[in-house]
Symmetry: C2
Subunit: 614 residues, 2 copies
């Protein structure tokens, strides 16, 4: 029962203390979130786990049968897209748009012309459409034979749609002659009414056995996410397959080091099952002696280092961008960030062991390939960083096998992951399989066609991915974690206490955090809390890889009294935070000016508007 083992790790008192401190309100939020997206079995998992945690028990008791049921669930109707995959597809044909209104007539005509069986008194469904067997469908795999697919009990001739597929012809052809459902399960952006509306006009018939047979066939498909670990129920899920879940704000603000079990999870693909004993890290590429290193090799041949570093998803706080104008991506609030003490060996030391040098003119980038694999294409997750960073002793890039003093967990990249301090999370590749030295950047979709920002006027029809560099160091950001959204402030209290985090890329320390209780008209400097263990003093120019937690108590407008301003009479208060890093970079005031189609690097002032009662 590996899932059970994961959960019982919560017995560690340090994890539980931090987790329980501010859990109660968030548990309710979280429970609601899970209930909205999950199935019945998932809900009962969440309920039981949460109940155990909120009673502050030091051990959990979740029936293994429930865990197994939860893990084995197939995609429920409301699951949202595997984001990165969605982008990959769209990027292939950025200018094309499916035209459901125009296409069907042509298609229907073509289908009628090439399918004489339909006219030969074949069995018909209740609407008079021909009934086909799976074998019939399987004969139609090429444009020459026409391309058929099934979805539930429907049979579709999509030959004329192939070139219009937003994800590219090659992707949709993977389903030729069979069901699209396994693919829609992977690229879950398909699970929308609009997508079905595009498909439906191409329908040419019905599958033998109808809806019941289709459901049985679907259930027999292997779920590539069946091996995913169980997750702490306090994580607020943004998607289930792949799993992406964020940490509630109050838990972020509760401790400078985020407990592993509540650390946000950002997966692009199914969690791979890696046998630690059999595991070998491959090192290859230009100018490198090929190496194959077991975990024991890494631990015995190289010096162990610890780095306290914050990791943040590029899309953290994306929901504020969506509020301005829809963007594509996980609807993260401010919880796709966390700080851990990572233990492992320096990437630099391993690269040096492979003979790589700063002066090698043939090498400019170091690629990381994950062991997590796209079940449809076989592609692995990948990213790269510039060689200078990889080899710099100051950059502290780690091949980590420990997180917060324990071996890496399955969700965080066991047995080995990259941690690139001060760089956006997408480069800290989990389940690291291979390191490749190269003259050019990783060709991975996630390096070249994602995790970049553009002018607010650029949309999916006009984006030129090559015109912007891959996001490496993110800009300075900050967020209010407490009071939580929905908190009702009382003017009678006279004041409000804010808590949150601030962080910047590139090791630039936080110099100052400014807070406001009047929407940003007036500001006060927050108190910066002590840095986490191993982190330099506040405001360091370099090496500040970890966030700065802060707190501030501000007078509430009505209590401030003397000269009643616009807020004094209002029934709500807008709390704002903005931070300054050691390059004196400030955050932009508003989201609109930095809006970008992928909704990344949102670092506008963070605002929380709360009702104010007398």
């Amino acid at each position: 029962m590996p899932q059970l083992q994961r959960l019982t790790r919560l017995r560690q008192p340090w994890a539980l203390q931090a987790a329980s401190a501010a859990l109660q309100l968030q548990q309710l939020n979280n429970l609601e979130s899970i209930s909205h997206v999950g199935t019945g079995a998932e809900r009962s998992l969440a309920t039981k786990a949460t109940a155990a945690s909120s009673s502050r028990s030091e051990s959990w008791s979740v029936p293994a049968s429930i865990l197994a049921a939860g893990a084995a669930l197939l995609g429920s109707a409301l699951l949202v897209p595997g984001q990165a995959s969605a982008k990959k597809e769209l990027a292939i044909l950025p200018g094309s748009k499916p035209s459901p209104a125009a296409a069907p007539a042509k298609t229907a005509g073509a289908a009628a012309a090439t399918e004489p069986a339909a006219a030969k008194g074949q069995a018909k469904d209740e609407k008079g459409r021909p009934i086909y067997t799976r074998e019939d469908v399987a004969k139609h795999k090429t444009p020459k034979d026409r391309v058929w697919v099934t979805y539930k009990e429907g049979v579709y001739d999509i030959t004329d749609f192939i070139e219009m597929h937003p994800g590219g012809a090659s992707k949709i052809m993977l389903a030729a002659g069979g069901s699209v459902e396994p693919f829609w399960g992977l690229y879950q952006q398909h699970k929308k009414a609009e997508v079905f509306a595009i498909l439906e006009p191409y329908r040419i018939g019905t599958l033998e056995g109808g809806a019941a047979a289709a459901a049985a066939a679907s259930a027999s498909l292997k779920d590539p996410y069946a091996g995913d670990p169980a997750r702490h129920p306090v994580l607020i899920p943004r998607t289930q397959k792949p799993f992406n879940g964020e940490t509630p704000g109050s838990l972020l603000a509760a401790a400078a080091v985020t407990p592993t079990d509540v650390f946000f999870v950002r997966n692009h693909l199914p969690v791979p099952a890696v046998d630690t004993q059999a595991y070998r890290l491959q090192v290859a590429g230009e100018g490198a002696r090929a190496l194959e290193l077991s975990l024991a090799d890494l631990q015995s041949r190289f010096r162990k280092h610890h780095v306290t570093a914050t990791i943040q998803c590029s899309g953290n706080r994306r929901n504020e961008m969506s509020a301005v104008k829809p963007v594509k991506g996980l609807e993260w609030d401010q919880g796709a960030i966390g700080t851990a003490v990572w233990g492992g060996v320096r990437l630099r030391d391993v690269l040096k062991a492979a003979g790589l040098s700063e002066d090698d003119p043939a090498v400019a980038h170091i690629h990381f390939e994950g062991l997590d694999t796209d079940p449809a294409t076989g592609d692995v997750y990948g990213a790269s960083i510039p060689l200078a960073r990889a080899l710099s002793p100051e950059a502290d890039v780690l091949l980590a096998y420990e997180m917060n003093g324990a071996p890496l967990s399955a969700d965080h990249g066991a047995p080995l992951r990259v941690v690139v301090p001060g760089v956006t999370g997408a480069r800290s590749v989990k389940w690291l399989g291979r390191i490749v030295a190269s003259p050019s950047e990783s060709a991975s979709h996630w390096q070249r066609r994602d995790y970049k920002a553009f002018c607010p006027s650029v949309d999916w029809d006009t984006v030129d991915w090559d015109s912007a560099p891959a996001l490496q160091e993110p800009p300075v950001t900050s967020a209010i974690c407490e009071p939580a959204p929905g908190t009702v402030l009382s003017a009678a209290d006279g004041e409000v206490t804010l808590r949150g985090y601030a962080w910047s890329g590139g090791g630039r320390g936080i110099v100052r955090v400014d807070v406001s209780a009047d929407g940003g008209r007036t500001w006060a400097a927050a108190r910066l809390l002590p840095p986490p263990p191993g982190a330099p003093a506040h405001g360091a120019y370099t090496g500040a890889w970890a966030w700065t937690l802060w707190e501030a108590t501000l007078p509430l407008p009505a209590a401030a009294g003397s000269s009643p301003g616009p807020d004094s009479a209002s029934s709500s208060v807008t709390l704002v935070v903005k931070a300054v890093d050691s390059s004196y970079n400030n955050q932009p005031d508003s989201v609109a000016g930095i809006w970008n189609l992928r909704g990344v690097v949102n670092n506008a002032w963070h605002r929380v508007t709360l009702p104010l009662e007398p």
Copy 2:
């Protein structure tokens, strides 16, 4: 006639071509500026020089007598403070405020009690005040004897004011027993009616000979700025003594490399006269072998390097901050920035020659001491940078003896200056005299009590200078250089072309420049012009020391037509620019949120509002 030689350097065609391109409008602006602040002799200098330049002559003819007269002028009434010195004084007693209303009664009484001569039928002036000789005044240099000073023909007993002096007791005591005028000439914030109003109540008598004798005495005082070089009249002066002048926007946008003669000048103190033959650079401090290097030593013993780097004053665009709320500092528009090709030796190489190492635990900072000296205190200009930057081969810190292919000019630090690429101008110490390795930052006022930014709520009474780190790498910024302020746009043209610069600290390249012709509601990406020679491609993660020039043509609101927005009907257009660096740092939307008492690092969106005619 070194001044004449400086001016004739303008014969270099490359300098003149760039300078003349957009000179005519700016010359008018500039001439007005000089006329406002200068005396008659200065005005005639400016007029002649400008006239010669605007006729696009390739050689200048300015009578040496006029140059000498201009250079030797004493402070005229409207000259404004030597900024850094002003701050230094204020910082000593930030909480103290002179109280002219309360002090005089006490002082007058004390003066009467201790000066029996005044009662002994001594000569009186026309208002019945005692007349004193300079010798009388000179006897009063200590609180015990009472402290007297003179200002013009007035004699003042300032004993009771000494402790209230905003610049500190030690500074005002430098004038004890003599005239305050030489000091007011240095710390020109005194030259205001308010300051005279503070002094006047302390008056106890009149100087023998009255106003005429005082004027003659004043004229005989040496002007520490008499040795300053002549400047190109196109520079827009912000102060004359010390000289601070900025480059007109149209000249900034005209060339990726700014011609030396129109490169902005930021002096804190008089320009020192350095004999290049006798010059020796001193290297000293912790862990360093003491070195003494002539310019020839530097040129022969070390490899020559070239770096194309932008230098920007920390206070560039300060005038926008003043518009929100007054700040202390030079009222720079967007022209306190420029880019040059610097030639010299690497600081790293010199430090290595002195035996310094990255691993020396006793050294953390490298200090630079200028040869420019405060005439009143003997203090030299100073600053420091962290050792890691000083020794980094990637940081490209230069000891430069060339600027744009010629030996450094007097205003730009001849014979040797520091150029710290990607770092605020204040650390690129000119007229470099001494390099000192140290465990701590430079104790210089300009390192510790200036060039830092604070929360908008912090004022001169509450500032804690130690709470913020010294500004090193500045944040991403940009500015519209064309159209120039005051340009009238014509809706009939249908469009407007914008030109300007964008730059970020730390070698972070410019990824993108967004421009707007509707005040920031909608944006378009500007075209980035080719990088200057020696600079990396746009968007580089590191080593992008030079700015990026850009241009964009936008439809004018009335011409854009289709859906009339708020601007379509208006008679003005607000052009806006904002840039993004390779850490995806954006500029803040507005100045108010980043306002700080010293008015530094203003990198808000740059806005230019212009009238729109049909």
